[in-house]
Symmetry: C2
Subunit: 247 residues, 2 copies
Amino acid sequence: MHNVLMRKLESFIRLSDADEIRLANAFRPSRRFAARTDIVPEGDDPSAAHVILDGWACRYKQFTDGRRQIISLLLPGDICDPHVFLLSRIGHAIGALTPVTVSRITGETIRDLKFSSPTLQEAFDREALATVEIQREWTVSLGRRSATERLAHLFCELHLRLAAVGLADASSCPLPLTQTDLADVLGLTSVHINRTLRDLRNTGLITLSGKRLVIEDAQGLRQLAHFDPTYLQVASGETDPLGPLHH
Amino acid sequence: MHNVLMRKLESFIRLSDADEIRLANAFRPSRRFAARTDIVPEGDDPSAAHVILDGWACRYKQFTDGRRQIISLLLPGDICDPHVFLLSRIGHAIGALTPVTVSRITGETIRDLKFSSPTLQEAFDREALATVEIQREWTVSLGRRSATERLAHLFCELHLRLAAVGLADASSCPLPLTQTDLADVLGLTSVHINRTLRDLRNTGLITLSGKRLVIEDAQGLRQLAHFDPTYLQVASGETDPLGPLHH
DNA sequence: CGTTCGCTTGATACCGCTCAAACTGCGTGG
DNA sequence: CCACGCAGTTTGAGCGGTATCAAGCGAACG
C-alpha cells in the first residue's frame, strides 16, 4: 500500500522502508462518502484523524442564518486534525465536496508513530506546519486581497498543493468546486465569483471548464495574486512546477 | 521562576514539579523590544521559538503597496511557532505592538521536552491546537462576519484569552491596540473601526478608553458576535469568566 | 420530460473605503 | 510653563466594490 498521504509526507522528508510499513499499518479501513454529505458533523466527539485518500472535502462553519464559511479545503493526502483527540467537541463540520474516500488513524497511533520514529515525527510536524501556513495565507487573502486577487491566489495555491501529490500537470489541475463553494472559501457571493472568473478569463490568465482549471499565464497570475510559493515549501525538495525564483 | 507560559500550559493540563523545573530551565535569557519594532523580521532564518512574557505582539504580512494584515495576535504566554526550526525562511514578520519581553526556546529543546515528558507533550499539543482554532475563527470572521460582528467577536476572544493567563478580570481587560491595529486585524480601515466602535459603545455593549476594554454586556456582545467560547477551551478546566452554558 | 442545480447576466442597494480636515492628548524642548 | 509636533481619534462627503434580488438558460438526471 502506497497511498497519497505517503506521497505527501515523502515530499517533506524521505521515509525509510520500515517507516513506510509502520505507516501503512496505521490506516484503518477506508470509507466512502457521497458528495454534499458530512464526514464529521459539527459537535461530534472526535476520536481519530481522517486522511483524505480521494476526492475533495472541506472544513466549514455554518451560521443559523445560512451564511457558510469554508475554513479549509482538504485535498487528497491531507490529514484532518491529527490532534482532534485532544478536543472534547469540535465546533465546525467536515463535509465532502465531491465523492470522497477517507481512511482514519487513531490519535493513539499517531502518537506512537511519532515516538517510534523521529523521521515520521518530523514528517507529521512539517505537514502540520504547512497546513498552518496555508491557513495564515487565507487570513491575509480574506483580510486584504480584492476579489480578483483572492481567486488568483487560491488557484495558485491549489495548483501547487495538487502538484505536490502528483495530481496536477505543469499548467492545469482539477477544480471540482462549484462557484458557490468558491464563494464560501473566499468570503464572497457566487454572483461575484462568476463575474470575477469572467474577468480572469478575459484577461487570458486562466481558462476554466468542465471542472478543470488551466493556468494560461502562471507568472501573470502569481503577480496579480502577490503569490509567494515559498510558504508551501516546508519541504527541502522541489515541488513547484514553475521552478524556483519565479515570483 | 513561574512565568506566564507555565500558567497557560497549566490551564491545559496539570504539570508535575519535575516538568515545571524542566520547562523553567528551557528558557533562554529574555530580551526586550520597543513598541513598533520587529522581533523577527520577514525572511529571517528561524532558529528558535519565541515566548511572549509581557506585552502584545503580532504576526503580520505587509504588501509593497502598504496594505498590512495582522495574521495573529500574540499575547503573554503565547508561543510563537514551536516548529519554526523546520522552515528555511519565514514569509511574514513578528512585530511588537507594545513594549514586549520575550524569551526563547530552541526547537531542539522543545523536541527534547516533548520526548522526555508525555504531559509536556500534551500541554504543547493543546496549546498548538488552541492556536489553530483561533486562526480558524479568524478565517470565519474575515470571511462571513460584518464589521460589527468582527469587532465584537475579537473582544470576546481577547477577553477570554487574557483571562486564561490571569490578565483580565470578570468584565474588563487591557486593550493596548490602536484603531489602525484593530483595522489590520479585522481587514477593515481605521476610519470604519472608529465608527463601529462608536456603535458598540452607543448600544451599551462596551466602553473603551485609556487602553482598557470594559465589557458592559457580555451576553449581548457574544450573541451579536455569534461567539462560541468552547473553541478556546481545549482545556478540561474552566477558564471562561462567564462560566459554562452562557452562549 | 419535468425538475433541479449550477451558471450567467442585469438592475439596484449598501457596506465599507477613500480623501480630507479638525480635534485631542501627550511628550519634548525652548 | 508654554509652544510645538506628532500620533491617534473623530467626523464629514462622496465613491466604489461587492451584495442583493431577480430572471433566464443549459445540462444533468430521475
